[in-house]
Symmetry: C2
Subunit: 222 residues, 2 copies
DNA sequence: CAGCATACTAAACGACTGTTCAGCACCACG
DNA sequence: CGTGGTGCTGAACAGTCGTTTAGTATGCTG
C-alpha cells in the first residue's frame, strides 16, 4: 500500500482533496500545483482526483466555487442586521480586517481570495463585483448615518474606497516588510487605522500633530 | 585574454530573447512560459537561451533586473529637478498615471511591473522598497509645500498613500469592469481624480454636492 | 597558418505533467 | 446467490518541461 490512509478522516476523501487543493492553490498558482501533489497531500491516488472532479480543471472550478460561496456567506453574515460595519466606520474597521477576523483559520481562505482576485477569470470577476456592490452599499449607509458623503460620483467613490481597502490586503507582505508591522495584525491596526481614519476624516491636511479623535471605547463592539 | 562582454553582434539575438521573454513574462507567470516558447518568439533555438542566460532562472533574473533598472531610471527622471510630482499633487496626478504615461509603449513594462510586485522575491521586495521611499519623499515634499501633513506616523501615512496608488494599478482590470471606464485612461482620470482629490483634500464628509475645487484652467498641465 | 573562443543548432535525456485504463474490494439490491 | 455500482488503486500513456551533449559555422588572435 503506497497511499496509506494515515489521515484521521471523518471527512470524505472528496472533501479532503478539495481542502488540500485549496491549501495548495492558496500559496501558489493552480497551474504550478500538480494533481499528484494534491493527491499526495490528501493521502489518495492521483486517479481518484480525476474520478471525483473529472480532471484538474474540474477540481479548480469546484475549489473556486467553494471559496466564493464560503466568502459570500460570511459577507452576508457580516452585513446582516445589526452589524456595525455599515454604520460606524471606526467600529468595524476595514473590510479586510473584518474578513481576516472572521475567516476560518484552518483553511487559508485569505490567501486564496488574494490569488483569486489577481488571476482573472469568471470567479474573479464575480468576486470583485460582489465586493464593489458591498462597498457601494456601505458608502450609502455611511452617508445615511452622516459620517460620509456620497461624493460627486458615488460609484467611483465606492470603487476608490474598495481599492484602498483591498490594497492593504494585496500588498500585505510588502507593507509588513517596509513598516516592520503587519497592517492587518492586531498591533498593525493600531498604527494603520488612526492614519487612515485621519485622512478619511479630514483629508491630508487635517490634524498634523494631534490625535485625530479619541473616544473612551467600550468593549465588545467588534 | 579577456574579451569585451558587449559585442554588437550578440546584442541582437540576446536582446531579442530578453525582450520576447519580457513580453511573455508580462502576460503570464514565468513558470507558465516555457523556454521553447521564448526561443520560438525570438526566432532562435531553445539551447541558445541556455547558452546566453545559463538557464531559465538566469533569463528570469536578467529580465527582472532589466525591468527594475529601466523603471528606476524613469523614476529618477520623474522625481528629478523641477518635476511637479513632488510639489503639486493635482498637477502630476498619481504615481501610477505618471508611470503609465512615461513607460515605453513597445514593451509591456506596466504589466510586468504589476506581476513583479505580486510575486514575491528579491526584485519584488527591492522594487516596493524603492516605491515606498519615493512615497515618503513625496509626502515630505507635500508637507513642505503645505498641501499635506506628515501625520502622526509618517511612515504609515506614506505607505497608505502608496498602497492606495498601487491599488488602482493592480486592480485596473477589475475597476474598469465595474466602472465601465479604465481609471488610468484619459477619460477615466477625469472621473477618478476629482473623487480622490476631494477625499485627500477634505475627507469623506467634505463637499457633499459641490465640486471640490475649480480652477479656470485652459492649458493642460497634466 | 593553426588554435581557439564564440554563436548557434538538432537531437536526445530524464523528470514530470494530466489523463486513461484494467482491475480489486466493498456494499446494496434483486 | 449474482449483479451492478461505487470508491479507489497501480501502471502506463503521450506529451511537455528544462537541460545536456555533440556538433557545425564563423570569425578573432597569436
Amino acid at each position: 500500500m503506497l497511499y496509506m490512509r494515515s489521515i484521521p478522516d471523518d471527512r470524505t476523501a472528496r472533501a479532503a482533496i478539495r481542502d488540500e487543493a485549496l491549501r495548495l492553490f492558496a500559496e501558489r498558482d493552480p497551474d504550478a500545483v500538480s494533481v499528484r501533489q494534491v493527491a499526495a497531500a490528501a493521502g489518495v491516488s492521483p486517479a481518484l482526483v480525476v474520478h471525483h472532479f473529472g480532471g484538474k480543471d474540474g477540481l479548480r472550478r469546484e475549489v473556486d466555487a467553494y471559496v466564493v460561496a464560503t466568502f459570500e456567506a460570511l459577507l452576508g453574515e457580516l452585513t446582516g442586521e445589526g452589524s456595525a460595519m455599515l454604520t460606524d466606520p471606526a467600529a468595524g474597521g476595514t473590510l479586510s480586517e473584518a474578513l481576516l477576523r472572521h475567516l476560518p483559520a484552518d483553511l487559508p481562505l485569505g490567501a486564496y481570495l488574494r490569488r483569486l482576485l489577481l488571476t482573472g477569470g469568471e470567479a474573479s470577476r464575480a468576486l470583485f463585483r460582489g465586493l464593489f456592490e458591498l462597498s457601494g452599499r456601505t458608502l450609502a449607509a455611511l452617508a445615511e448615518a452622516g459620517v460620509a458623503a456620497r461624493g460627486r460620483d458615488p460609484e467611483v467613490r465606492a470603487a476608490f474606497l474598495l481599492a484602498n481597502d483591498l490594497a492593504v490586503f494585496l500588498l500585505r507582505d510588502h507593507l509588513t516588510g517596509v513598516l516592520g508591522t503587519d497592517p492587518l495584525s492586531e498591533e498593525g491596526v493600531v498604527r494603520w487605522a488612526p492614519e487612515m481614519l485621519a485622512i478619511y476624516g479630514g483629508g491630508l491636511l487635517a490634524a498634523p500633530e494631534e490625535e485625530p479623535e479619541r473616544e473612551p471605547e467600550e468593549e465588545g463592539t467588534a
